[in-house]
Amino acid sequence: MTTRGRADQHQSSVIRPPDFDQFWNQVAAELDSIPLDPEMMPAPMRSTDEVEVFEIHYTSLDNIRIAGWYCRPRESYITGPYPGLSIVPGYVSEPTLPKSWAKMGYAAVGVAPRGKLRSNSQFNPGYPGLLIDRIVDRNTYSYRGFYADAVRAIDFLLTRDEVIPDRIGVHGSSQGGALTIVTAALRPDNITCGAAGAPYLTGYMDSAALTHSYPYEEMNEYFNLYPERREQARQELAYFDCLNLAAWVKAPMLIYAGLNDDVCPPETAFALKDALPGEVTLNTTERCGHDAGNYWQMRHVEDFLAQHLQPAKVDLRAQTTVG
């Protein structure tokens, strides 16, 4: 078996750009100038006696129209209002239909950021592709808008009368783990808690150096062809690195990771724990990879979210979502 340094001893190479705050303030100002224009369409085929499902749309950065799923308990099943929950997607995963979370008592949104199905008519870099799309320019890099799309899911929840505005959480794994951090960082006053599994987009360059697995391998392939762009990419990616965004997170966070994760190296999960200023718990599981010990950790995720968000049905379990 190969050996490697201990994950908790790895030193991150991420540097915070001096104009980091200014960059994100500009993004926020631009986003704030764009009306959300939310739209909800009932999806009766996906709805049940307990849960109403809606297909939603809203406008995000660059005036791109973003899709999502919104699932809420029926009043006859659980009387509102409800805590809110944003379930954010993995890199290759299909957008989430968070019906089981709604059955637990959450008003839950599963966002499809740009490039995902139903949000890909105006922006569609493909897979592989998203991670390195305009990687040399922070003002047009794919994740500038992608992050905004995920954050706007919270803005959508805040438009809903049935959502308790000071009890909103966010959860996802892999890219969803990254988007959990991003959402909590860019909406620090609106997020009550976050649970991030196997966080991606955390120590971009370190991760690409630690693994040859996709999606970080997209970066290695890009630098193989264009080595002269490596340092510029390093500088630009720092604006999107969760290790830099983490400083803005106020909410309690749960992170879980597999100690043998070849997709999102566990070294970066430890770095993220150190970068988060508030209450944070890191659960690691041996011999687990990108599954992040999910088989055991999901119960902890559900309990953590329930502790902070207090849904009505804490005895129910979340189910696999689409894709």
Binding site: G5, M45, S100, A209, R287, Q319
Partner: protein, 318 residues
Amino acid sequence: MTDTKESSHPNHQASGTGRPADLDAWWNAIDEELAEIPANPERIFQPLQSSGGFSDAYRVRMTSIDNYPIAAWLTIPTGEGPFSAVVTVPNYASVVTPAHYDFRQRFVTMTMMTRGQRGADKPYAAAFPGHLTNGISSPDTYVFRGVMADMLRAYEVLAALPEVDQDRIGIIGTDAGLLLAARRPGAKAVQVTAGFWYRLAELVASTEAYPFEEINDYLRAYPDDREAVGRTLAYLDPRHQSGRITTTIQINRDPDSAVANDAWLAPLVAEIKSEVTYYDIEHRGQADHDANDAWLSQQLGVQPAPRQWEPQETGPWS
């Protein structure tokens, strides 16, 4: 496979899951349609995915039944072949990516883009949810008739490559791999890492997890289609073709799951004449991967590539 739970859909179980009398004719018709349509594969070199220098990567476009254009990621190790090959059966998602780095180093690899998936989404772009129940009321309208044809077509293209050692082809992924092995004998090994089509009509009644919940959604909307749905799914149930399988098989088993344990799987393997090995998963992803990889590597005559590592007190990090 998904964990089971007490059925919350007592009225929604799809029935009619016995072996259809015209099963063989149904599959033979797919073979006949494929035989009439040349694949005309077209390799398109991919510089980015080839930049590592250890393999050349291509997008392969080819034609399937209905003259539908499908595609696949194909990678071929550099150096002198022929090589062992691994083909991954279709996943249930829009995105299809090239095979893992350590597979691309050791094997010719193919990951398929069947109709509806990205790369093969013109004219039909599958919806998720939605794809799983598209045309499900009849086996002749079910979109997965075409998807299965696409799987067979892609495999035919792979198996015909001069870079591939015909005697060392492995099939991995869901139990669609068993259908592939049944319809296209000759693979050295099949590794079933997860169930999907086996007893699907029964499985959906015991879960609310997507994508299986798509079928429950459909049956809720169209309760009169229960029997028809069950009948359609029976055409794709690998147990009804298991007697045709002569390939060595490994199946991931979960003794703690009512839909992945010995009792559940027994009817599937009862008719298989070749060697069937179970691997009892630990739910530790990397440990399970390494065990699967060790078996597959042995079958295909290559060095295993475990992904677990041991931490040491101080670096280096590679």
